[in-house]
Symmetry: C2
Subunit: 421 residues, 2 copies
């Protein structure tokens, strides 16, 4: 495996207030002991600028060092994350044009062989491909694009399609952010002995994140998110290893089960996994079922797919290829289902059931999703974070589908995850 | 002031599992260092039985000892609450008929002069009065009633009206629960020295809780909740004081401002307060504005009203009368507004704006409301907890009302709370 070089540019970090780190830093006091905070939908991650008063710090939704293989975060462990909820803000700058790269400086941008450069290229191409395919399938609506940059480092491209012919709301965002963590934060994260004197710790994080909510109750919602992280050892603590990892997943949330659709979707995920490692699909399928669990309902929000996090125990090149394969599998996994279902006639009752399931989506994202909840708590750009919420949702008191009905079958599959292939 | 006697029936508490307390206990490990967890909407509180598999432990949403005057709970302090998120369940028993009282045993039930007995009587009368008035104003729909009891002590009456002519969803619940806290929990709560050996700590909690969501976008949503708590010192720690306190409030959440409506609503609240103490209205009005704050939006969810918690620094009889006055003020504060607005014609855009504001209601309740979030985390009966959510809600990407528009005026008043009278 070819090792890429990392060119960190050492710069002093500054505090915006005694309780706040930001600019090109992660507010580490707030997140360090917590595992992989940017899992899943994570519109927290592709934050961007706002002309409104709302402040933004979504790249905080990143955990850099402490990691866990347990995807389900419990309240008891989440509380550990919020050591300091007050983080402050670096204003993003709206940009008129997309830059060729968000990477910093000429050297790095031109080092096209680096994993970070190739990951950025991959997610930007994926964003283009997905948006083009969605617009084609929608047949009318277009994505609205917002480009932004951060003085501290990096930027992103947010695209939202709203009230289309097929999708009521579809967001496809990429972001590339980097900077340095304060040494205290690094120490807290590492639990290092006090005689160590780490300097600022550089980090890099890039990702693509998307949620697609169709109108037709027979057409499923899709979420996908792929991301790559790097962090480095403190400058004056030589020997501490540089770290990198990949995370992500793609999952399907229908209101009605068409078994052929779910099989197709899972088959495409499995095929992508199997190209790399036979254990991936069963492992990441289960991880997905575990992660998207609405604990207070005892239900998953949908019918799963794949989900993984903190993945670094394979060859880095292999994992980059794997993430690329996964991102490239989104359209072949999803669009054939949409084409089949987008124009099916439906009743008011079927629409209401879809809306109830959308309510569950809201519950998951607001109550459990780590990226979302962390983004909300730390003052992320709210419109970017909550673009994952559906246009409309519904809550009926004590609604129980009749046993054996189509609605009941969906609920049953959310309560008792199935092997689809 | 006449002191009422408390007849605690000492009984051994039992653990349902090593990680779980319940039955007639509060899962104190989970909540103790946290302030007044049952503030506000708190459908967690009037939990009840379910024939579904869902378990229930909503009376856990009660904090008994540690209290604060700061109504806004931050993530950093909330995490302290969730010391142990796993609590288990005492199944409620559905009852065919409402009992005359939920108080335990003949002696206590007949001690009609006790504050707990009079508080129960008050909230049950308030429930009847409010439901009758709502049904009359709705002109067609009726409340569905569920009565439940708990073997460990107490019970409740849940009433929900759904899809009426005026209200799309209206819930009015009462509950009366009691039992004992495990000594460990009491110790944790009190931060007492280890040489103390407290026994089980008895508690009592009763409340009425209601959220009313009308259909017409010009008719406002109303929430009110009044509650009374008692706790006692451990049996073998004589001298530790018995404690009691009152909490509650009534607040208005319109989508459009009719200044005369908001003035009327606040005037009724002020009148109720002024009968008892001139500082109440300004203090509780501000407390309300502070509590119903959607931090990630920088907005209140509505136009406020009154909110108070942990109130025990006045004569107990006076506070019982005050809570009664507040509960009795709900109908005169709210129904005249409904009568004026329920049949106003409206546009699709106005309905959509109401739905966006309903989305904010969902955000507040799922992300910030202490009763709701705690109920979700501890396995409360979900349908009772989430009956506070609207039937339908909406999220548009980056929606910004035009400056000076009626929608903008509402938003402005949610961002910058006003003095209405």
């Amino acid at each position: 495996m070819k090792k890429c070089e990392i060119h960190w540019r050492e710069r002093p970090y500054h505090k915006q207030s005694s309780e706040a780190f930001c600019v090109n830093q992660i507010p580490i006091g707030a997140i360090m002991p917590c595992a992989s905070i940017v899992s899943a939908p994570s519109y927290a991650f592709p934050f961007r600028s706002s002309s409104a008063a709302t402040s933004s710090i979504s790249p905080t939704a990143i955990s850099l060092t402490k990691r866990t293989s347990n995807p389900r975060i419990e309240a008891t462990s989440f509380r550990k994350c919020v050591v300091r909820a007050t983080v402050s803000i670096e204003k993003e700058t709206p940009e008129a044009e997309r830059p060729e790269t968000f990477l910093r400086g000429v050297d790095e941008a031109h080092s096209s062989s680096s994993v970070r450069a190739r990951f950025e290229k991959m997610i930007r191409e994926a964003q283009d491909t997905v948006c083009t395919a969605l617009e084609a399938a929608d047949g009318g609506a277009h994505f609205k694009e917002d480009v932004w940059s951060r003085p501290g480092g990096g930027g992103g491209i947010s695209r939202v399609l709203q009230d289309g012919a097929v999708w009521e709301k579809a967001g496809v965002n990429v972001s590339v952010v980097y900077g340095v963590m304060p040494p205290d934060a690094y120490r807290a994260a590492k639990g290092a002995p006090t005689d160590q004197k780490p300097g600022p710790v550089p980090f890099f994080a890039a990702g693509i994140s998307s949620v697609l909510h169709p109108k037709n109750p027979f057409a499923p919602t899709l979420h996908f998110n792929y991301r790559y992280f790097e962090t480095d050892a403190p400058k004056d603590a030589p020997g501490a290893p540089r770290q990198w990892w990949f995370g992500g997943g793609t999952d399907l949330t229908p209101a009605y089960i068409f078994e052929e659709d779910v099989k197709h979707f899972h088959s495409v995920q499995k095929r992508a996994c199997d190209k790399f490692e036979p254990t991936f699909y069963p492992r990441f399928k289960k991880w997905c079922d575990d992660y998207f669990y609405i604990k207070h309902r005892g239900e998953r929000r949908g019918l799963g797919g794949i989900f993984f996090d903190d993945l670094n125990d394979y060859d880095q090149e292999m994992l980059l290829s794997f993430a690329t394969e996964c991102a490239n599998s989104v359209i072949p996994a999803y669009i054939p289902i949409i084409e089949k279902r987008k124009d099916l006639p439906f009743t008011e009752q079927q629409k209401a059931w879809q809306q109830l399931r959308r309510g569950r989506y809201v519950e998951f994202n607001l109550v459990y999703d780590r990226g979302t909840t962390f983004g909300l708590k730390t003052g992320g750009r709210i419109e970017s974070i909550l673009v994952s919420l559906p246009l409309t949702a519904r809550w009926e008191y004590d609604h129980k589908p009749e046993e054996g009905s189509e609605e009941w079958k969906l609920l049953d599959a959310c309560i008792n995850p199935k092997e689809w292939i």
